[in-house]
Amino acid sequence: MISKFFTAAFAVTLIFATSIALGQVDTGRLVREGDQWIIRMDQTSSPQAGPGTVMMYDNYTPTNFGGQTTLTTVISVGGDEYGDSVNLANYQQGIIDSAGFTLVNNSTTSNITAMRVEFKWYNADDNAFLGGFILNTGFAEPRLPGSQALIEGDIGTLRFLNIPLAPRMIYTTKYLEVFGGANLSDVGMLYGGPVTVGSSDRFIVNRTTGQQIDLGSADQNLGYFIRGFVIPAPGSVLVLTSLGLFASRRRR
């Protein structure tokens, strides 16, 4: 009889293990069907986008930077809040799901081992503050002098912030501190183009000073992406009827 128990447990474990091996995180959820509760398995994708997750602005994909010149020092005054317009494609009401940005260590001698960077998003139409957060992040491997990096959260990383989307947004970043030897003035960001999803106005802006900066052409924009999360359609499901795993509402 013990083996029967472990068979049942193993069957469930196998489902989870198999799904994890596919890069997915599966969780049971209960769905009421008539008088019955049935356990269904959602598949919350990671890193693949799942239902309701939509790339709405992308100037981040690696080929954007191919052939670009080396970094300018324009965006190396790390303490300032720099922003770029992000006109969303595929816009629907929802919240920011995840976002990406870039980091360049312009120092010729010093590493960056950790940093604090502030993110803020504004509605470009009325300049209203939509939300933001401060990321304290350390690097498992130090960012070496001259190195360039694209940095992103997993799918869904920012959902809990409930930051609403707007059709036209200003996406800003402000480097607050760096550690490891490099200085804030050593921090840079990547830019390039053209934007592959959505669009961006010609200028980037220093929100601290109000200065508008033209990086040379309309195709030169900061290396950001914004993924939106909209109310999803019911996800793909795996009904566990074959395993006999049901949940049933008890009749009173």
Binding site: I2, A8, V25, I39, T63, A140, T157, F179, F246, R249
Partner: protein
């Protein structure tokens, strides 16, 4: 063949090879040979003072609790006092009882089932394990979570899939063909108790809200009916078999100890509720820590990094670590933990409490976790709490704390054990592996054999460091890398035992791991003839038994210490606890009887609770 477990036979030879000094399977060739069995080795000789010298700065004022310069504070609630110079309060003593983790939460670290959505308002946002109740989810924004009727948490199983000992409808329950979480919990507790377990660690019973770190408020994350369950409150009829189950089970098993694994971060109200409220107030930005790891490289040569939260408490002001010098923090941790104490739980394991490393560099808050953990371990309020029904003494068991992972510090290029911390507090090492090691990445893997010149050795009379092999055998690093690991072997459990670790079972479904553990502590039901627990009774068992008993007898003759446990040849449980030819004769008799039985009726002896801790 008389078989209870099917295991590839070649492993038996590996067992013998490693266990009895035959080589270094799984050990890097340049590392020290494992200590002989039963040798209570000394602590790593690194001294406490060196680790807490200014070269490794900690939070100002944080020092070892026994440091005479340790100042007393004045901000504690009335009636409490700080740890005094020289220890002051009753000292910490190790409890080396092996443990079984009752897994109540599943899912990847920091990423539970996902947030509730309009389409899936329930979901499984706390990532609870399948049997502990996907219905036990709170309503977003509710603090504490709203009640979910226990009846709605029932799960229906096919009859053939029912766990042993769990009746489909339960005696006295309506004939609805259902079982519920408590019946499964009953099974786990009762089964493993009968198999020698006396210590149960309830692993994250409240769950982990999506995107958050493990919160200390595990009690508060549970729905009301589960809180009531642990309080012995229910509305079941008096003849119901589960009526007041929890207090009755405790009273019936007075030598069982219950502990909880929870998290270190706390917030002002004592827990981080799984709320998903907006956090869009200018000037009050949510701030969280994350580790960024490389996940790829672009064609243009840029590194692609991905960050994962390490400390996060969304929807509320920033979570903070326990600060034993802050009155509100002390009050919060008392508020979070007191209900568990009242429910008979006497041990509390704090996730990520060792703070190995510094993040960001010299970040005092993060590094201070280790020393805050020590202070917590000696906090007079908790030290003076006595939990009834638990049998450390006639009157009960004092509340105690432990931390995850093994506290270490870099001494040069060597990751050395922090003896100061090991000697003052309990620690556990989830996912410790014989051959896999990562330091500085989210994965808490530790290569227990070889990471210092001496290997990692702990004195049995001075330490309580758990060896908790990874449950899935596939480790997922912080950067998403997957490392298939071979199963933990009988010999590796033995080596961990010899090195002074305390053994634990992390995955309740790893039945063979528990068979190994039972033999290294002489506890529970043991099929005598299956010496090496490989599931087969054959000549390899004879060879392994002879090798073990010969080595033990030799060591005893030399006056060297030997653990008096089954795996070392203590079979007959003679009063003198001497390993000698009478044990060999006893075992051979059982073996011969076993192999001559046509139906595999081998003698199984219940050795009771663990021996020779």
């Amino acid at each position: 063949m008389k078989s209870r477990l099917q295991v590839p036979s070649f492993r038996s030879s590996l067992v013998a090879l490693v266990l009895f000094g035959g080589g270094s399977v799984g050990v890097r060739s340049n590392q020290a040979v494992a200590a002989p069995p039963g040798d209570p080795t000394p602590l790593n000789p690194v001294v406490c003072a060196g680790l807490h010298a200014p070269a490794t700065p900690s939070t100002p004022g944080y020092t070892c609790p026994s440091d005479p310069s340790y100042p007393t504070g004045s901000t504690l609630p009335a009636g409490l006092s700080w740890v005094q110079a020289g220890g002051g309060q009753a000292g910490w003593t190790p409890d080396r009882t092996p443990a079984v983790f009752i897994q109540m939460r599943t899912g990847l670290y920091g990423n539970s089932g996902g947030p509730p959505t309009e389409a899936t308002p329930g979901g499984n946002p706390l990532g609870l394990n399948w049997w502990w109740g996907p219905l036990a989810v709170p309503t977003p924004g509710a603090t504490p979570p709203v009640d979910v009727p226990r009846d709605e948490g029932k799960i229906k199983f096919n009859t053939d899939d029912l766990p042993e000992g769990i009746e489909p409808d339960g005696v006295g329950t309506p004939d609805d063909g259902l079982i519920d979480q408590i019946q499964v919990l009953d099974y786990y507790l009762s089964h493993y108790y009968s198999q020698g377990a006396r210590r149960f660690i309830f692993n994250i019973p409240g769950g982990v809200a999506w995107g958050q770190d493990i919160m200390i408020g595990q009690w508060q994350l549970m729905p009301q009916w589960k809180q009531d369950f642990f309080r012995g409150i229910d509305n079941l009829p008096s003849n119901h078999p589960q009526k007041e189950f929890w207090p009755r089970w405790k009273a019936a098993h007075p030598d069982a100890v219950f502990e909880v694994y929870l998290g270190a971060p706390v917030v002002a109200n004592g827990w981080c509720s799984p709320c998903y409220t907006a956090n869009t107030i200018p000037g009050q930005l949510f701030e969280a820590s994350a580790q960024s790891v490389k996940v790829g490289t672009t064609t243009g040569g840029q590194d692609i990094l991905r960050y994962r939260w390490t400390i996060a408490c969304p929807g509320v002001p920033q979570a903070d670590d326990y600060n034993p010098r802050n009155q509100s923090s002390v009050a919060a941790i008392i508020q979070a933990i007191q209900p568990w104490i009242d429910a008979g739980f006497s041990g509390f394991w704090m996730d990520a409490a060792s703070s190995n490393g510094s993040f960001p560099p010299n970040d005092l808050k993060v590094y201070g976790r280790r020393l805050a953990q020590l202070e917590l371990s000696f906090q007079p309020y908790f030290r003076n709490q006595i939990v009834p029904y638990q049998s450390d003494t006639q009157t009960g068991r004092r509340v105690r704390f432990g931390g995850e992972n093994i506290p270490t510090s870099m001494v040069g290029n060597v990751e050395a054990i922090d003896d100061c911390s090991v000697g003052l507090c309990s620690w556990l090492a989830i996912s410790t592996q014989p051959t896999r090691y990562e330091f500085g990445i989210e994965g808490p893997f530790r290569e227990f054999k070889t990471e210092s010149p001496e290997g990692w050795l702990f004195a049995r009379d001075k330490s309580e460091v758990f060896f908790v092999p990874d449950p899935s055998r596939t480790l997922v690093s912080g950067n998403g890398t997957r490392y298939p690991e071979p199963p933990i072997t009988f010999a590796e459990f033995g080596e961990a035992r010899r090195r002074g670790f305390v053994l634990a079972l992390y995955n309740l479904d790893e039945a063979q791991q528990w068979e190994f553990v039972k033999r290294w502590y002489s506890m529970g039901d043991i099929n005598i003839a299956d010496f090496n627990a490989d599931g087969s009774v054959n000549a390899q068992d004879v060879a392994d038994m002879n090798a073990a008993i010969n080595l033990s007898m030799s060591r005893e003759q030399q006056g060297l210490p030997v653990l008096k446990v089954f795996a070392n040849g203590e079979f007959n449980q003679d009063p003198a606890r001497k390993i000698d030819e009478s044990d060999r004769t006893f075992w051979m008799t059982q073996y011969n009887n076993c192999i001559q039985q046509p139906n595999g009726a081998c003698a199984i002896i219940n050795y009771g609770g663990p021996d020779d801790l």
